[in-house]
Symmetry: C2
Subunit: 468 residues, 2 copies
């Protein structure tokens, strides 16, 4: 299987996916090895994860190089590895607190006491996307491993180059290598994982997520799905427009807009609309493409060539329906074999346009005015998605009050896309943006375990009570 380089357009890398029978064998082997992993206890698992963190630091350069080739960008790659390394420490701390020794507690029935246990699923399958290849391959994996599960990860075939250096880091921690691995492969490999694992975590498109849910339901295994978004930002009169325009530019174009939590639509109160648009255009025009070299400018190429088609389709559709291109280009541009999307501001947009309803996943900023709060909320909630959003208002209290009306799992207040850097809030996805427990916050670890109750008869009350 040949892999395209997003900067050159050349197929310069090859992967050899395992066949389904090999995956079944691997998962069965992991299911046995998981017993020892669980028996290590949380301290043993924390120790292994810290050893892995050290290995990641030793292989830092090789991982960053591979990820940079995978994604064609460098700034976000440095941030990505940094976030991952920090998250290992955070999860180790949470896991230690989480696994307090069980204690019996008295129930409301005087002759029964209760003891609780947590039993991890044996083998978790993780299927992850190409937009943050490393981060999104470990975001569920690290808490699952600490919970005591074995984990098999199948990252996107679009960005597989980081897998080999990562496998070397895992090999350096023998206890971990028995219960944690990465597979190269595309949809078929992912499907084989869904066919064999005990719980599935999928991050990716809503279309594929729906297929994963159906396949998991056929096998009667649980799924956690983190899917697409069409995050709206609402800017109200009274907001700091300098701050709002900077934050929304960042939230819209960072990583070339290739984040589930990107701002995809901006709604601005009509009284400040002109002023906001002007500021946003001015700032947008300072953003440069990271071309010709990866160290130039800000925005790398669009990673997946399929995504190029979607971005172009949204822009063509919007302009055909009357959208005005304020800055940017009416489609991606081809430079040195890569496809680049200039940060693009559209006005005169409405909800008949795909750019306002479907996930664009590019640095495109369609801006639409609104009259009052009710109209703003109706527009923001007028979507099949419910991942996150942002509110800018004159003060925090007003912004939170408005944010309460938004149908999504997280809202940044007076900033944009804060879930990118802040993983401590517990959030669920609304609507078609996902299914399953929160992947952020302390209780994310609990998703990987079943609760078990021991109901202990403590006094010699005779049974059966209702006979005789």
């Amino acid at each position: 299987m040949h892999i395209r380089n997003p900067r050159t357009g050349q197929a310069d890398y090859t992967i050899s996916p395992p066949n389904p029978a090999q995956i079944t064998d691997l998962v069965n082997q992991f299911r046995l090895a998981q017993i020892d992993w669980l028996a290590l206890g949380v301290e043993g698992r924390v120790e292994a994860m810290q050893a892995w963190k050290n290995a990641l630091e030793r292989y830092k350069e090789a991982i960053i190089d591979a990820l940079t080739t995978d994604t064609g960008r460098r700034n976000e790659t440095l941030l990505e590895l940094d976030v991952v390394l920090k998250s290992i420490d955070r999860w180790c701390g949470i896991a230690r607190q989480f696994f307090a020794p069980p204690s019996q507690r008295v129930s409301s029935i005087p002759f029964i006491s209760i003891e609780q246990d947590l039993v991890p699923y044996a083998v978790v399958g993780v299927i992850s996307p190409w937009n943050f290849p490393l981060l999104l391959s470990v975001i569920d994996t690290i808490p699952a491993l600490l919970a005591g599960c074995a984990v098999v990860v199948k990252p996107s075939e679009v960005t597989p180059r980081f897998i080999r250096p990562l496998l070397q880091t895992i090999a350096e921690v023998p206890a971990l290598a028995k219960v944690f691995t990465y597979l190269e492969g595309a949809g078929e490999t992912g499907a084989a994982l869904v066919e064999s694992c005990d719980l599935i975590c999928f991050t990716g498109s809503t279309a594929t997520g729906k297929r994963v849910y159906k396949q998991a339901s056929e096998r009667f295994v649980p799924v956690f799905l983190e899917l697409g978004g069409k995050d709206a930002a609402l800017v109200f009169e009274g907001a700091d427009l300098d701050r709002a325009s900077s934050a929304l530019l960042w939230g819209s174009v960072v990583n070339t807009g290739q984040s589930c939590l990107s701002i995809e639509r901006i709604y601005v109160q009509d009284t400040i609309y002109e002023e906001f648009v002007k500021r946003l255009i001015d700032k947008t025009e300072e953003i440069k493409l990271a071309y010709p070299t990866v160290s130039d400018g800000h925005l790398g190429p669009v990673i997946s060539d399929k995504q190029v088609d979607i971005i172009n389709e949204h822009l063509v559709d919007a302009i055909a329906k009357g959208a005005i291109l304020q800055t940017g280009e009416p489609g991606c541009v081809k430079l040195g074999g890569g496809h680049y999307c200039r940060p693009t501001v559209l006005t005169n947009v409405n909800h008949s346009m795909k750019v306002m309803t479907d996930e664009t996943f590019g640095p495109v900023m369609p801006i639409m005015p609104f009259r009052d709060e009710d109209e703003a909320i109706a527009l923001a909630n007028g979507t099949i998605y419910g991942l996150s959003g942002a509110v800018f208002a004159g003060n925090t209290e007003e912004a939170i009050r408005i944010a309460r009306r938004m149908q999504c799992g997280a809202v940044s207040i007076n900033d944009a896309a804060l879930t990118a850097i802040m993983h401590e809030g517990e959030k669920n996805s609304f609507k078609l943006s996902g299914i399953g427990g929160t992947r952020m916050g302390p209780s994310a670890i609990k998703r990987f375990m079943r609760q078990k109750a021991y109901l202990i008869k403590t006094a010699g009350i005779p049974s059966p009570w209702w006979f005789g």
Copy 2:
């Protein structure tokens, strides 16, 4: 649609299920009404639930009469209503504690604080079975209502007579009647609920549960499934055999064995096997059928005539393969139009017999000896189910240690089927016994809500951070 009476065999009751379009309309109407229900706040909802509890007490006699006709038994019916009334108070208390006012907390990033919210699903569909028609129709409904959801319940068409008096109790609480109702109907009505609600709770057979999961995955809505079991009891040398035999008799035959948490298999250490079997047979022979009147004896008829076929099939299969009938009958007996199953003890059984692997759902007690703990655990875990189990041993510590090795969600220690009376332990179903969060314990209420995080930028750190 004509409904059979389990004591007479006569079709003496008729239901008229709504059509799918009516169900869609109802759910849409509830989706709007839920906004007001949520706005009542937890205190307003607690007040409505307490008013409903009072209405249930006023209609107690009519409900008990209907349920007794539905199920052909009276003792368990009295217990059932009592458990339901008590559970309303318990859930009101839990809900009050649960909805503490939100507070902002500081995160590890100094300029971001976090506030959390809980957002209920709008309309929950509950599909419930015939074995405890009232209890299992409200076990998920009460916490869902208190969470702020609207709820539509579709009980089994085998036992629908209690629905009409129950609807009268709901009508007495106007605030509740706008967001809570029961529908008469069979599989088609249940399927229409899955087609229209925002979250599905299903209690019933694993076969139907699998279909519900598939249908929910097609619609991309979450499901909570509580399905079949094949609960094992392990009796070790050192156990109090008098207590163990009484408890296991109760746990096996109560409600004519028609409980998901019935003991379905008994494994006894070989050194005490003969003595245990003797005691169990002696006690079993004291149990009488509740015939000719509902006030006689102990065990009512088998409620569902389809279940009669399954019980008979298991007994015939076991005896054909060498099982010895120690007491009871080789099949259900027909008395006055009803099908009754005498409490039946089988020995010389093994795992080639359906009675040891499939859910019998009757008062049948197959007993098998084991040599040591490892063999006992292998036998107990040798099943596709993982609902609950029981361990009897010389002391509590030993029993808990053994219980930890059982792959199921709850284990009664030195008693049987304690989840029937104790709903405070948090438990998940293992294997094919279910999917989704715990329906018992305080966090059961959380299943009906999505978490939402507000990430609040508290200081004027300029964004975007990585530009310039």
